[in-house]
C-alpha cells in the first residue's frame, strides 16, 4: 500500500461531505458511511494490534467502491481506499465468501461460457441452476447473456497493417493496444469491433489485447492478494507494449480506473505509475490528441435526436472530464443530456448479490427516474454492468458510446 494514502487520513476534518455523497447511505441508513468507516475508524484500527479486526468492519461489504466519497472530499482524503483495504480483512460468512469468490472470478466463467455462448446462457436460465445460485446468495435476476467472440484479433491485425500502408502519406500512425475487458469480450463483442473501427478511422494502428480481466471484481470483493498478482501480470505485458511506443486504450471505465489508479493505490504494483501514464480511455485519446478527424463522419446521416448519457462512477472518478459525451454531442447526437450525478447501483458484482439486489435497485432509483423524466428513447453509457442495470429497470435501449458513434463512420471500403 502506498504511504501517501496511509497518511492522508490526517486531513479529514470530519466535515462529512463524503457522507452526503454516498449512494449507500442515501438508501440504507444502517450503513455508517464513508467518513466513519474510513478515516474515522482507521485511527482506531491503527491503535490496535496488527491483524485485529473491528466488528463494525462487517459493514464494509456494503461499500460499492463507487469512489463518490473520494471525489467529494475537499481535502484529498480517499475513504474508499481504507474501505477496500479493510473489507479484505473483515470477516464474512463462508457461503457469502464463496458466492463473492464466484462473482469475483467472472473472468473465468465468462471465458469458458463465451466459447459455448448459447449453452452458457442456457445453463444460467435452468431452474435447478437458478436454485443453486439462489442458495449461495446470488440475486434472482437475469445475468448478461454470453456471446461468442466473433472478432478475430489476428485478422484485424493484418487489416490494420494493410491500412497503415494506405494511410502513410497522411502522417504517422499512433500505435494502440486496445484492451476490451470482460464485458466487451464475453457479453458484447460488438463493442470490440466498434472500438477498433473508430480507432482505425482516427488513424491508429490497433492491436487487440487477448481477453483478460483488470482485476476490479476481485478488488471490490476483497481478494486483494489475487488481484495483485493479476495486476502484476497485466502490468508486465502492458509495459512491454509501452516500451515499443504503444498507448493502452480501454473502453470500460472500471478497467481504466484500475489501470490508472487502483494498481498503484490499492495493489501497490511496481511500475504502475509508469503504466498509468500510458492508459487512455478511448474517447480521452481521441479528444486529447485531437486526432478525431471530423471528415470520418457521415454527414448525410440524420443525427440521433435526444439521448441520455449516464456517466458511470468509475468514469467520473478518472477526472478526465467527459470526452465521450463531448464528441457525441458535437458529432452525432442532438440534445444529449449528460448526467454524472447518479450511481446506477449495480456497482459491478454488488447488484448480483441476493441481499444487495434491492438496495442496488433503490440506489439506481434516482437515475431511472431522471431517465424516465427526460423522455428519451436511448440511454448511452460506457460501463457494461451499468448497461445491464439500466436496461433492466427502464426497459430502454442502452448502448455503449462506441456503438453509437460507429454507425456514423464513413464506410471506408467503398471510399464514399
Amino acid at each position: 500500500m502506498k504511504q501517501v494514502q496511509e497518511a492522508n487520513l490526517d486531513y479529514c476534518l470530519k466535515c462529512s461531505t463524503c457522507h452526503t455523497q454516498c449512494p449507500v447511505v442515501l438508501n440504507f441508513l444502517p450503513f455508517p458511511g464513508p467518513k466513519h468507516m474510513g478515516p474515522e475508524l482507521e485511527r482506531l484500527r491503527l491503535s490496535k494490534k496488527q491483524g485485529e479486526v473491528l466488528k463494525i468492519d462487517e459493514n464494509l461489504t456494503y461499500c460499492t467502491n463507487c469512489k463518490r466519497c473520494d471525489m467529494a472530499c475537499p481535502h484529498g482524503v480517499k475513504p474508499s481506499y481504507y474501505n477496500i483495504k479493510n473489507k479484505a480483512k473483515a470477516k464474512t460468512a463462508a457461503v457469502q465468501k464463496f458466492r463473492d469468490w464466484i462473482l469475483a472470478h467472472n473472468y473465468w466463467w465468462g471465458r469458458s461460457a463465451s466459447k459455448v455462448p448459447r449453452l452458457g446462457s442456457f445453463i444460467l436460465k435452468l431452474a435447478p441452476v437458478k436454485l443453486v445460485l439462489k442458495t449461495i446468495g446470488m440475486a434472482d435476476r437475469d445475468f448478461p447473456e454470453y456471446k461468442g467472440q466473433r472478432f478475430k484479433p489476428k485478422i484485424q491485425k493484418e487489416q490494420t497493417q494493410k491500412e497503415q500502408k494506405g494511410h502513410k502519406k497522411q502522417g504517422e500512425q499512433k500505435k494502440v493496444l486496445y484492451f476490451p475487458g470482460c464485458y466487451a469480450s464475453f457479453n458484447q463483442p460488438e463493442i470490440i469491433q466498434a472500438a477498433v473501427e473508430i480507432l482505425e478511422a482516427a488513424r491508429c494502428q490497433v492491436e487487440v489485447a487477448p481477453s483478460g480481466c483488470c482485476g476490479t471484481p476481485l478488488l471490490s470483493n476483497g481478494f486483494l492478494v489475487e488481484a495483485g498478482s493479476w495486476a502484476k501480470r497485466i502490468t508486465a505485458v502492458f509495459l512491454e507494449y509501452i516500451e515499443k511506443g504503444y498507448k493502452i486504450v480501454v473502453s470500460c471505465p472500471s478497467c481504466g480506473l484500475a489501470f490508472k489508479d487502483e494498481y498503484r493505490d490499492l495493489l501497490a504494483v511496481e511500475q504502475s505509475e509508469l503504466l498509468s501514464q500510458h492508459i487512455y480511455e478511448l474517447f480521452e485519446l481521441l479528444a486529447e490528441e485531437e486526432n478525431l478527424p471530423f471528415e470520418i463522419f457521415n454527414k448525410d446521416k440524420a443525427k440521433i435526436k435526444g439521448a441520455f448519457y449516464h456517466i458511470p462512477c468509475h468514469l467520473k472518478a478518472q477526472g478526465m472530464g467527459f470526452p465521450g459525451a463531448h464528441i457525441l454531442k458535437n458529432t452525432v447526437v442532438e440534445d444529449l443530456l449528460v448526467e454524472d450525478s447518479f450511481c446506477c447501483g449495480i456497482s459491478g458484482t454488488f447488484g448480483f448479490k441476493r441481499e444487495k439486489q434491492d438496495l442496488a435497485a433503490a440506489i439506481g432509483g434516482s437515475l431511472f427516474n431522471a431517465i424516465k423524466d427526460s423522455k428519451v428513447k436511448m440511454v448511452i453509457t460506457d460501463c457494461g454492468t451499468c448497461m445491464v442495470q439500466i436496461r433492466q429497470h427502464t426497459c430502454l435501449e442502452v448502448k455503449h458510446p462506441v456503438l453509437v458513434l460507429k454507425d456514423f463512420l464513413q464506410t471506408q471500403k467503398g471510399g464514399k
Binding site: 470530519k14 466535515c15 462529512s16 461531505t17 457522507h19 452526503t20 455523497q21 447511505v25 442515501l26 441508513l29 444502517p30 455508517p32 466513519h36 469512489k67 473520494d70 471525489m71 467529494a72 472530499c73 475537499p74 481535502h75 484529498g76 480506473l257 490508472k260 489508479d261 498503484r264 493505490d265 504502475s272 505509475e273 498509468s276 501514464q277 492508459i279 479528444a287 486529447e288 467520473k316 472518478a317 478518472q318 477526472g319 478526465m320 472530464g321 467527459f322 470526452p323 463531448h326 449528460v338 448526467e339 454524472d340 450525478s341
Partner: protein
C-alpha cells in the same frame, strides 16, 4: 476541448461565476479538489452582519452599512466589486433560486435575525423561503430536539434564546423511533424524514408537547429533497410555524443549496471535474493558457480556456496555504497581501484578524495585481470569494455575500459581458 471559462473551485464563488457564464450561453468547466465548503455552510447569504465590526449590535440595513463600508474601506472586496454589481448578483441569485426549486427570500435592505443551533441570533439578509419566519416577533417559541440526533441540545439552545428574545421559550425532545444501531447526524435524520411514517412519528410526538400557534425551532433535518413539503405537513398538522436551524456539518441547509446549484449548472452544460486539484499552470506573457489537473497516478489532464476564475477559498479550503511565517496562494502562487503582524492573540477579538485579511489583492476588474505596482498579473485571470484579501468574513458576517457578488462579477467580466 477549449472552454470559454475555466473556474477553479466549486464553492459559492465558483458556482456564482458559472451562473454568470451560463446566462450568456458560454461553455464553462468547474475544476475542484473536492466539493467545497458550501456543503458545510448555513445556506444563508449574508451581505453584511456587523459593521463596524467592533460594534456589538447587528446591522439592521445592510445596504446602508455597505454604503459606509465602501467609503471607508476602498480595498474591501465589496468596494472593488461595487454596489451596483453586488445588487445585480443578489437580485439574479433570488430569481435563479426560484428556478432551481430552492426559493430564497429577503432583500439587501433588511437583515433578519436567525437562531443558531447554540441559541445565538445571527443577522442575515437572504435565506431559504421556508425559513422566512421572524423569531424576534414570535410570542411563543418551542425548541425541538430530536433524540436520535447527536449534536443538538434544545435545552441549551432555549436557554440562550431566552436571554435574547421577548417571547416565551420552551424546549422539548421528540423521538422519531428510528431503530438504527449507529450515531445519526443531521443528514441521516433528514433522509429518514423524507419518509411519511417518520414524519407522522414526529408529529405525534409533538402534538401534546407544542402549544398551538407557537414557532417551532428545529434543527434543519426536515428532508433532503422534500423539505418544503415536510415543513408544510408539520405546520399544518400542529398549527404552528416551523423554523429550521442550520446544524453542525453535515449541514443539510448548505447541502440543499450546493446540490441545487450544481444540478442547475450541469443541466445548463457546465462540466464539473471534481476530486482532483489543479497542479499545472501554463502561461504566455500575461495570458493564462491552460491549467492541468493531476489525476490519480500523476497523469496530467490539461484544460484550455479563454479565461480563468480562481475561487479556491481561503485557508480552510486550501485556496490559501498557511505556512510558518507566510501565506501562499495554492494554484498560481499569486502575490498575497499579508498582514500577519496584526494577529490578535484574542481569538474572539472583534477587530479583524490578520489571518482572515490575508489573501490575493485584485483590482476592480477582479484581476489579481502586483501589490506594489498595482499592475495586473494575468489579463485573463480573475479571483473571487475567500481567496480575496481585505476582509474578515467571520466577524463581518459577509462570507457568502462576498463569494456570491465577487464570483458573479468575476464570471461576468471573464466572459466579456
Amino acid at each position: 476541448m477549449r472552454y470559454d471559462l475555466v473556474i477553479i473551485g466549486a464553492g459559492l464563488a465558483g458556482m456564482s461565476a458559472a451562473l454568470a457564464a451560463v446566462k450568456m450561453n458560454k461553455q464553462a468547466v468547474v475544476l475542484s479538489k473536492g466539493l467545497g465548503s458550501l456543503y458545510s455552510s448555513s445556506g444563508y447569504i449574508d451581505l453584511l452582519g456587523y459593521y463596524p465590526t467592533t460594534e456589538m449590535k447587528p446591522v439592521l440595513n445592510p445596504a446602508r452599512a455597505l454604503d459606509v463600508l465602501v467609503e471607508e474601506k476602498p480595498d474591501h472586496p465589496y468596494s472593488l466589486v461595487g454596489k451596483e454589481a453586488i445588487r445585480e448578483a443578489f437580485t439574479d441569485f433570488l430569481s435563479i433560486s426560484r428556478e432551481i426549486g430552492l426559493a430564497y427570500s429577503g432583500t439587501l435592505d433588511e437583515n433578519i435575525l436567525m437562531p443558531t443551533a447554540a441559541g445565538a441570533l445571527i443577522p442575515t439578509c437572504l435565506y431559504p423561503e421556508t425559513t422566512g419566519k421572524k423569531i424576534t416577533e414570535a410570542p411563543v417559541i418551542t425548541v425541538v430536539g430530536i433524540e436520535e440526533l447527536a449534536d443538538f441540545y434544545p435545552d441549551y439552545a432555549a436557554d440562550n434564546l431566552r436571554h435574547r428574545l421577548k417571547g416565551e421559550v420552551k424546549s422539548v425532545w421528540a423521538s422519531l423511533n428510528i431503530k438504527v444501531k449507529r450515531e445519526l447526524n443531521s443528514f441521516d435524520i433528514a433522509l429518514a424524514l423524507e419518509n411519511f411514517h417518520v414524519q407522522e412519528a414526529l408529529i405525534k410526538e409533538l402534538e401534546n408537547k407544542v402549544p398551538r400557534n407557537s414557532l417551532i425551532v428545529i434543527p434543519a433535518v426536515l428532508g433532503v429533497q422534500n423539505w418544503q413539503q415536510v415543513t408544510k405537513t408539520i405546520e399544518k398538522a400542529l398549527n404552528c410555524d416551523v423554523l429550521e436551524v442550520p446544524t453542525l456539518p453535515p449541514s443539510v441547509m448548505g447541502y440543499r443549496l450546493a446540490e441545487k446549484l450544481q444540478q442547475h449548472l450541469k443541466h445548463k452544460g457546465v462540466d464539473f471535474i471534481t476530486g482532483h486539484p489543479v497542479t499545472h499552470v501554463k502561461c504566455s506573457g500575461r495570458q493564462r493558457l491552460e491549467v492541468g489537473i493531476s489525476l490519480g497516478s500523476g497523469k496530467l489532464k490539461k484544460i484550455q480556456g479563454d479565461s480563468f476564475v480562481l475561487a479556491t477559498g481561503g485557508i480552510l479550503n486550501e485556496g490559501l496555504l498557511a505556512c510558518p511565517g507566510s501565506i501562499k496562494e495554492s494554484v498560481f502562487d499569486l502575490p498575497i497581501v499579508n498582514d500577519l503582524l496584526h494577529v490578535d492573540r484574542d481569538f474572539f477579538s472583534l477587530k479583524a484578524q490578520g489571518l482572515s485579511l490575508a489573501g490575493v489583492a485584485v483590482n476592480s476588474n477582479m484581476q489579481p495585481i502586483d501589490i506594489k505596482s498595482g499592475q495586473t498579473i494575468y489579463e485573463n485571470l480573475r479571483a473571487a470569494g475567500a481567496t480575496l484579501a481585505g476582509y474578515d468574513p467571520f466577524i463581518e458576517k459577509s462570507g457568502n455575500g462576498v463569494a456570491l457578488a465577487s464570483g458573479y462579477k468575476a464570471g461576468k467580466l471573464a466572459i466579456g459581458a
